[in-house]
């Protein structure tokens, strides 16, 4: 971690060297470590120190981007020269108007020193709790525990400078019994909030209860989707529907629907990068402060997220949801939350005559983006619900169903919510568990 002063100096050094019309520098620095366990012992234990400088230069409406992780002065100059050379060879982009101007940004305290200083011994001690508990219950422990400290800065030649340091502690485990498995996970900016005993017990309990699973006929069922299954619904909604670019390209169900009811009245979704109960990042990769954007309010479509380019196309201002340039994905809701309900999670199934309890989904992929039609499998704890009780474990099921349709058939929402962090996209989500009617399962595995 370089700290704000060195990062400011670095970005100013690059901006000072550039003679382009406009220049942007995005800096990221990471110190991360991950301890991985399987077969009830540590089998992979790694650490990484990295930096990245991404430079975007603009000549008129010509744009070039280059990046490097080498911070030596000659490397920075080489990267700037590459970006300049690319820009000068570029065709004009008529949509481009300007990089963003400075705006006041909210500061969010999201850096926890004890997470940043977490040692391999501390991680090993927590992992050993999982391994010992697993051995005692005759199940096999697997999982990963990562601790990360990061710093991000965005600066441009119009005066933008935004800096944010943060930490993430992320632990997940799968406990495997002979014929069943169970999952538990915990994410926080603060590693000291992890309760390894409770997490291990949760996953072991589920693994033991899921032994000797039975087959059930595919069809439409009421489902209790636990929080990590709901996370998948939020991920695909963000990816396929809540981006201004998806709307502009007419591949989002939100196209032409603002102000109309598109989901059940009990569904409210918003994105807020400044929320302290997520892994906050209060500005985007253009340095624009992230606004809280109401996406769905009581089932009514209220908005989508913008970056500078998609906003300028519509004569609007960015909501602070840019990804790093150059970006063909468009803006992204990276801090999506779903409003909690008022029913304790365990009571959600009280009135379910016959349904299916789903712990999490696996390998989900869009089949039809406009319909939010997704296929995937259940994993690590799938159970039959009968007369308000979880009665039997089930073999994993394939579903092929519309998440949009699912969000139109939410019968109840849990009072509790969980935080999840995706280490591929760096998106964090906070979501409740959902009871949904008419969820369509299309196959069973062996």
């Amino acid at each position: 971690m370089l700290g704000i002063d060195k990062v400011r100096e670095l970005t100013q050094q690059i901006l000072g060297m550039s003679h382009a019309d406009q220049t942007e520098v995005v800096f990221t620095g990471t110190d991360s470590a991950l301890t991985r366990f399987a077969n009830s012992q540590i089998h992979q234990n790694v650490a990484e120190t990295n930096t990245d400088v991404r430079i975007r230069v603009v000549y008129g409406k010509k744009i070039g981007v280059a990046s490097s992780n080498d911070l030596e002065p000659e490397a920075l100059k080489r990267t700037l020269d590459t970006a300049r050379a690319i820009a000068q060879l570029q065709r004009e982009n008529p949509d481009f108007q300007s990089l963003p101007a400075p705006q006041p940004a909210q500061t969010v305290q999201a850096f926890v020193e004890r997470t940043a200083n977490y040692s391999p011994e501390q991680r090993a001690q927590i992992v050993n709790v999982f391994c010992k508990k697993a051995k005692a219950k005759n199940v096999v422990a697997a999982g990963a525990f990562s601790t990360t400290a990061f710093e991000i800065a965005a600066a441009n030649s119009l005066g933008v400078f935004a800096y944010h340091p943060g930490t993430v502690a992320d632990l997940n485990t799968v406990m495997m019994a002979d014929t069943g498995s169970g999952y538990a996970a915990h994410t926080s900016a603060d590693a000291s909030t992890i309760n390894p005993d409770a997490l291990a017990d949760e996953a072991i309990d589920k693994a033991l209860k899921s032994r000797n699973p039975q087959t059930i006929e595919p069809g439409e069922y009421t489902v209790l989707l636990e929080e990590h299954a709901v996370e998948d619904i939020l991920n695909f909604s963000a990816f396929l529907a809540f981006s201004a670019l998806a709307v502009q390209e007419e591949r989002s169900f939100m196209k032409g629907k603002l102000g109309e009811r598109v989901m059940g009245e009990n569904v409210t979704l918003w994105d807020d990068g400044t929320a302290s109960d997520l892994i906050a990042l209060p500005f985007d990769f253009e340095g624009v402060p992230r606004q809280k954007v109401m996406l769905i309010e009581d089932g009514i479509a209220r908005g989508v997220v913008y970056d500078t380019l998609t906003a300028q196309r519509e004569g609007k201002t960015s909501t602070g949801h840019s990804l790093p340039a150059p970006n063909s994905m468009g803006p992204m809701a990276m801090h999506l939350q779903m409003a909690a309900g008022n029913t304790p999670k365990r009571e959600l199934i009280k009135n379910v005559a016959r349904g299916i309890w789903v712990t999490r989904f696996w390998y989900t992929r869009p089949v039809h983006p406009l319909k939010l039609l997704i296929t995937g499998m259940t994993r690590d704890g799938t159970f039959l619900i009968e007369n308000g009780e979880v009665t039997r474990p089930l073999k994993n099921l394939r579903f092929t169903t519309s998440y949009l349709d699912a969000l139109n058939h939410v019968r109840a929402i849990s009072r509790e919510t969980k935080l999840a962090y995706n280490d591929w996209s760096n998106a964090s989500r906070r979501m409740p568990a959902l009871l949904i009617d008419g969820f369509r399962f299309t196959g069973v595995t062996q």
């Binding site: 991360s32 991950l34 991985r36 399987a38 077969n39 012992q41 540590i42 234990n45 790694v46 650490a47 990484e48 120190t49 990295n50 930096t51 070039g64 981007v65 280059a66 990046s67 490097s68 992780n69 911070l71 990267t79 970006a83 060879l89 570029q90 065709r91 040692s119 391999p120 011994e121 991680r123 090993a124 096999v140 697997a142 999982g143 997940n172 485990t173 799968v174 390209e249 007419e250 591949r251 340039a325 150059p326 063909s328 696996w362 992929r365 869009p366 089949v367 039809h368 983006p369 319909k371 296929t375 499998m377 994993r379 994993n396 394939r398 280490d423 299309t442 196959g443 595995t445 062996q446």
Partner: protein
Amino acid sequence: MKDLTGRALNMAQMRGASYADVRIVKRDVQRIAVKNGKVEGLEQDETQGFGVRVIVNGAWGFASSSRLEGKEMDRIVAQAIAIARASAMGKSRDVNIGAPISVQGSYVTPIKIDPFTVSMAQKIDLLLKADAEMRRVPGVKVARAEMAFVRENKIFASTEDSLIDQELVESGCGIVALATDLQTGEVQVRSYPNAGGRNQVTRGYEFVLEQKLAENAARVGEEAVALLKADACPSYDAATIILDSSQLALQVHESCGHPIELDRVLGSEAAYAGTSFLTPEKLGRFRYGSEVVNITADATIVGGLGTFGYDDEGVPAQKTEIVRNGIFVGYLTSRETAQELKLGQSNGTMRADGWSRTPIVRMTNVSLMPGTWAVADLIADTDDGIWMETNRSWSIDDKRLNFQFGTELAWEIKGGKKTRMLKNATYTGITPEFWNACDAVGNEASWVVWGTPNCGKGQPPQIAHTGHGTSPARFRNVRVGVVK
């Protein structure tokens, strides 16, 4: 660089490592993306750094840094040693990587035209031309064309006296047309030459020129628009399907390549990527597919995206039989997993995503070997079936058994001829049942080695580049169509 690797290895041994290796990797990536007549993305990224892997007290430690300098090397070695000592706190047995391997060698991807020397203007022109051809088709809403080039230089050195340097070069390109009809709620996509608009290989710019993107662009656009009005693929409980070569490549990747990764089989990926149905007792005994199914893992195929000289443990690239006449006979191994099953020396499939990741078992070029059928004969021999081409969606369970794939385009086959175009086709099955239902594989003339540049596995996340050679093949009694 030799000074740096020597310094790291010496220090590791002095601090108690019974084994250590160091990799110094520099990777340059150039990406060009054109959308609807505008150059949407033009970037060049470089990353460099090193990773040190050690065994101390019988356990692994790995640390990495982007700062290529002596003092940082010392810090990272010390960190890797400390991590290994922490790993040893809960070990149940010592790591065993088998007999020492000492290799001194080098490898360079054979290319005709270095893609990094071709002018940006020439590349942009080619993409814009293809983009314009697609948009000339009324109804195309979004046209996208892209290229990607990778050059990776890496040095591997170990305490077993291995010293290897490699330069791997990749070239990729493709186009995509998207057509939408909001009134009917249809979105349809056509891609060329591969799904998502990119095929990638370990070759030079000559590969891009051979793809003739602009010459194929109008057809791609026309097919995307035609799909909006095409009939939906009907549902069948037991249909005959023929998969085109590119779709079959992904089928091989998901339902053969992943389950033969021995780290998965032995549980190392259980919490994330999952395990495998191909458990050790099945080796040499299990009927994975019909007699016509022969699968190899071959890291030596010229141009394959999973082609290299040496893996990231310094093991030379090689060819391994995986399925012989339908019987499962081989895994993809690392030095450690090969010892665990007493398979002898590793068959060299350990690869890391750049300098900052530790190597894990990865597919090389896992291929379905050619059969005897000319593609025209395969279609003519099919009375009632569906031809499916170019992947649109893919999903498989964590043991690699239950899969479902969707394709961009399908054709009904009646009386040995392709008849009507079908949209939204999907097929689903259970891996060994499906491969046992394969009754015909296309011949060498239709065999293509496809690249999959986006294979995700591992924690922290790693992307691997894998290759898959396939000809079209026919499968009987397959469940088709679950999309309403």
